[in-house]
C-alpha cells in the first residue's frame, strides 16, 4: 500500500505499459518470431523447389532434341581412359600434326585438368614457329579433328624471315564423362605439378 501511494497516475500508466511490454516480449519471441522464420524459410524453399521443378520440366521438353544430338556424337568425345593417358595421346596427336615442312614445335606444356560435373577440360599451351600457311594448317588440323578442341587464346608474332611467324597457342579439349566415371585420382595428382609449371610460363 505504501508503494501504491507513492506512485501517481502517470507512473501507474507507465508501469502498466512496461509490464505489458515485458509480457508481450516472450510471446513475440516464442510465438511470432518462430512462425515468421518458419514462414520465410518455407517461402524460400518453395521458390527454390519451383525453380528446380521448372528446370526439370524445361529439360524434359528438350529431351528429344538432346537425345538426337547425343546420338550423333563420336565415340572419341567420351572419356574412356585416365587423364594421364588422354593427355598423352592428345599431345602425341599434336606432335604428329606439327610434322610439317618448315614448322617446329618450340615448347609444349600440359596444364592442369579442369574437372566439371559432366565433362573434363584438358588444356595445352604450345609454341610453334614456321611459315604462316603451315602454322594455319596446323591450327586448323588441331581444332577440326574428331576430338572436341577449341582455341582459348593465341599470340602471333612475326619473326625474321619472309612470312615467318611464331605462334603461342592455348588449346583446350573437352571429354565428356558418363555419370559412372569416377574423378581420376591419377589425373589430379599429375595436375598439381603441371599447375606449378604453368604459373611459371
Amino acid at each position: 500500500m505504501i508503494f501504491r501511494r507513492k506512485l501517481n497516475q502517470r507512473e501507474w500508466v507507465l508501469c502498466a505499459v512496461f509490464a505489458a511490454a515485458i509480457l508481450a516480449l516472450p510471446l513475440f519471441r516464442n510465438v511470432m518470431l518462430p512462425t515468421w522464420r518458419e514462414w520465410a524459410l518455407l517461402r524460400s524453399r518453395l521458390h527454390s523447389q519451383t525453380a528446380e521443378h521448372d528446370r526439370f520440366v524445361r529439360n524434359l521438353s528438350r529431351k528429344k532434341v538432346v537425345d538426337a544430338e547425343f546420338a550423333r556424337l563420336d565415340q572419341q568425345t567420351w572419356q574412356t581412359e585416365t587423364d594421364q593417358m588422354t593427355l598423352a595421346s592428345w599431345l602425341r596427336e599434336l606432335e604428329v600434326m606439327a610434322r610439317l615442312p618448315g614448322m617446329n614445335i618450340n615448347n609444349m606444356k600440359a596444364l592442369p585438368v579442369k574437372e566439371e560435373r559432366s565433362y573434363r577440360v584438358y588444356r595445352v599451351r604450345l609454341s610453334v614457329s614456321g611459315k604462316l600457311p603451315e602454322v594455319m594448317k596446323f591450327a586448323s588440323e588441331t581444332t577440326n579433328g574428331q576430338s572436341v578442341t577449341g582455341v582459348e587464346a593465341f599470340v602471333l608474332r612475326g619473326t625474321q624471315g619472309p612470312n615467318a611467324v611464331e605462334c603461342s597457342l592455348a588449346l583446350r579439349m573437352i571429354r565428356l564423362t558418363s555419370e559412372k566415371t569416377p574423378p581420376s585420382a591419377v589425373g589430379e595428382k599429375k595436375a598439381k605439378p603441371a599447375r606449378e609449371g604453368a604459373n611459371g610460363i
Binding site: 512462425t35 518455407l42 523447389q49 521443378h53 526439370f56 529439360n59 587464346a153 593465341f154 599470340v155
Partner: protein, 485 residues
C-alpha cells in the same frame, strides 16, 4: 422511453434553406453538422438534437426524466455529437471588465481575480467564462464575463449527471442569446421562456454587451398575463431612453402566448416564429423551452463545430480534464485492442501461409521426385552439349582472324603481333606506311564482320633505317558467329 419525442422538421423548403445557410457549399458536399442543446428543468432534461446536412435540417425534441431514457437518446445521438447545456441567467452574473491587452492564456486567471475582487466574500468560489466585446480604449480589451458560483454550477451539473448526461460545453444563456440575436433580425428586445414559469428578456447594448433580465410569472393569472408585470418593469427603462418621435419599441417573442400589445401603446410585439425557421407544434409539456432550444441549436451549431465558444464554456476545468482523460483512455484502449487484433491476424495469416506452403512444397516434392532422375540426366546432357559447343565455336578463331585481317587490311600495312585472350579480346600491332592507312584500318575491320567494338589505339611515326614508318595498335573484340556474342 422518452416522455415525448417529436420530429420537428423533416427537410422542407425552409429547413433546406437553413441547412444551406449554415453549411456553405465550399465546406464540402457530404459534410454534416449536429448538436444537442439541453436544459434541465424541475428534474426533466429538455433537449433538441439538430442535424444539418446539404439536403436540409432535421431536429428531434426530447424530454427525459430517467437515466435509461437519456441513455437511449444519447445512443441514438452518437458519441461524436457535442452536447451543450444552457445555463439560465438565474445561475450566473454578467459583468464587463476592461483589461490591458494580455496573451490569451493569461486572460482567464486575471478575470477570475477581477471577479473575486468585485464580488462579496460570501459569494464563495466561482467559475468564469468570457467573450470579447468591442473595445473603447486603445491598448485595452473589454470582456463580458459570466460568473457562476461553483456550488450552484455543481448542482446544475449534478442534475444532468443524475440523468446520465455529461455535457461537453456549459454555455451561459447570454452567449446563446448573442448567437441568436445575430439571426433574429432587428428586434430591440427578445423574450423567450427558459425554464418553468420564467422568461428571459434580452437586449443588445450599443457597446455590444448583453442585458438579460429574468421575468418570473406572477401567481393567479393565465397565459401571457402572468408575465405582464415583469414585462412592464423590463420595458420601462428601455422606453425612458427613447425619444418621443422614435418608432415603437420592437419586442421579438419566441414561443407561444405572444401578447398583441402593451397598455401604453408604444410597444410593438413581433412573433419571431414567422421570421425564424418554422417551428414544431407544441408538445405535451415544456414545449416553450423546446422551441427556444431549437433556435439556440440552429444559432450555435456552426460556432460549436468550429470551436469558437471555447472561452465561453463554464464547464469546470476539473471536469474538462476528466473528460479529456476519459477520451484519451478510450483511444489508447482502442489502439491497444487494434494492435492486439493486428498481431493475432498477422499470426493467423502466417500460420495459414505456413500450412499452404507446406502443402505446396509436399506436392512439388512429389512431382520433382517423379521427374528428377530423367530431368537431371537430360540437364547433364544439355550441359555437356553446351560445353562442346562453346569449345567448337572457338575452334575456328585462328583461321577466321587471319582471314578477316587479310580481307580488311589496306595495302602497305603489316602486322607484327596479333593477340587473342580468353575473353575474346583481340589486340593488333603493326606498321603502316602512313598515318592515314593506320587510321583507315579500324573502319575496315568494323566493316568486315569478324571484329566488333574496334577501338584505335596508339599510332606514332618512328624512324626505320633511312625512312619512317607508322606504328599502330588497335583493340577490338572477336565477333564469333553462333556464340551469341
Amino acid at each position: 422511453m422518452p416522455r415525448s419525442q417529436k420530429r420537428i422538421e423533416t427537410p422542407s423548403a425552409e429547413t433546406a434553406e437553413l441547412g444551406k445557410r449554415l453549411l456553405p457549399g465550399k465546406r464540402g458536399r457530404n459534410r454534416s453538422s449536429q448538436i444537442v442543446v439541453c436544459l434541465p428543468c424541475n428534474g426533466v432534461a429538455h433537449g433538441v438534437h439538430l442535424r444539418l446536412n446539404r439536403s436540409g435540417a432535421e431536429a428531434r425534441q426530447h424530454q427525459v426524466s430517467t437515466a435509461a431514457q437519456a441513455a437511449k437518446v444519447l445512443k441514438e445521438v452518437g458519441d461524436k455529437c457535442p452536447i451543450v447545456a444552457i445555463l439560465p441567467k438565474s445561475l450566473y452574473l454578467l459583468r464587463v471588465f476592461e483589461l490591458p491587452k494580455v496573451s490569451a492564456e493569461e486572460v482567464p486567471p486575471i478575470l477570475e481575480l477581477e471577479a473575486s475582487a468585485v464580488l462579496p466574500p460570501e459569494f464563495g468560489a466561482v467559475e468564469v467564462c468570457y467573450r470579447l466585446v468591442a473595445s473603447r480604449k486603445e491598448g485595452y480589451e473589454r470582456y463580458e464575463v459570466c460568473i457562476a458560483r461553483r456550488e450552484e454550477l455543481g448542482a446544475y451539473l449534478s442534475a444532468l449527471e443524475l440523468l446520465g448526461i455529461r455535457p461537453g460545453i456549459v454555455l451561459p444563456s447570454a452567449v446563446a442569446w448573442v448567437q441568436l440575436l445575430k439571426t433574429a433580425g432587428q428586434a430591440d428586445l427578445l423574450i423567450a421562456a427558459l425554464g418553468s414559469d420564467q422568461l428571459e428578456a434580452v437586449s443588445l447594448g450599443s457597446d455590444g454587451t448583453v442585458n438579460i433580465r429574468t421575468i418570473t410569472a406572477a401567481g393567479g393569472a393565465e397565459g401571457a398575463e402572468r408575465y405582464q408585470r415583469g414585462l412592464v418593469e423590463c420595458v420601462r427603462p428601455l422606453l425612458t431612453t427613447r425619444t418621443a418621435d422614435a418608432s415603437a419599441l420592437s419586442i421579438g417573442w419566441i414561443g407561444p402566448h405572444c401578447p398583441s400589445h402593451l397598455a401604453n401603446g408604444r410597444v410593438m410585439f413581433k412573433d419571431l416564429g414567422e421570421v425564424l425557421p418554422s417551428m414544431p407544434a407544441k408538445t405535451e409539456s415544456g414545449g416553450e423551452i423546446g422551441v427556444l432550444l431549437y433556435h439556440f441549436s440552429a444559432a450555435l451549431v456552426e460556432a460549436v463545430q468550429a470551436g469558437e465558444l471555447q472561452t465561453s464554456n463554464l464547464l469546470p476545468s476539473e471536469i474538462r480534464r476528466r473528460q479529456q482523460q476519459s477520451a484519451l483512455r478510450k483511444s489508447v484502449l482502442w489502439a491497444a485492442s487494434l494492435l492486439v487484433l493486428a498481431c493475432v491476424l498477422a499470426y493467423m495469416a502466417m500460420r495459414t501461409m505456413v500450412h499452404r506452403y507446406q502443402e505446396r512444397i509436399g506436392q512439388l516434392s512429389t512431382k520433382i521426385e517423379s521427374i528428377r532422375k530423367e530431368g537431371e540426366a537430360v540437364g547433364r546432357r544439355i550441359e555437356q552439349l553446351e560445353a562442346m559447343r562453346a569449345a567448337r565455336v572457338t575452334g575456328s578463331d585462328f583461321q577466321s582472324i587471319i582471314a578477316g585481317l587479310y580481307d580488311s587490311s589496306p595495302p602497305n600495312l603489316t602486322y607484327s603481333g596479333v593477340e587473342l585472350d580468353e575473353q575474346g579480346k583481340l589486340r593488333l600491332q603493326g606498321q603502316a606506311e602512313s598515318l592515314a592507312t593506320a587510321f583507315l584500318l579500324p573502319e575496315q575491320l568494323e566493316k568486315n564482320g569478324t571484329f566488333k567494338e574496334v577501338q584505335p589505339g596508339d599510332a606514332s611515326r618512328s624512324r626505320k633505317g633511312e625512312g619512317t614508318v607508322v606504328e599502330f595498335r588497335v583493340d577490338c573484340k572477336l565477333n564469333r558467329k553462333g556464340s551469341g556474342q
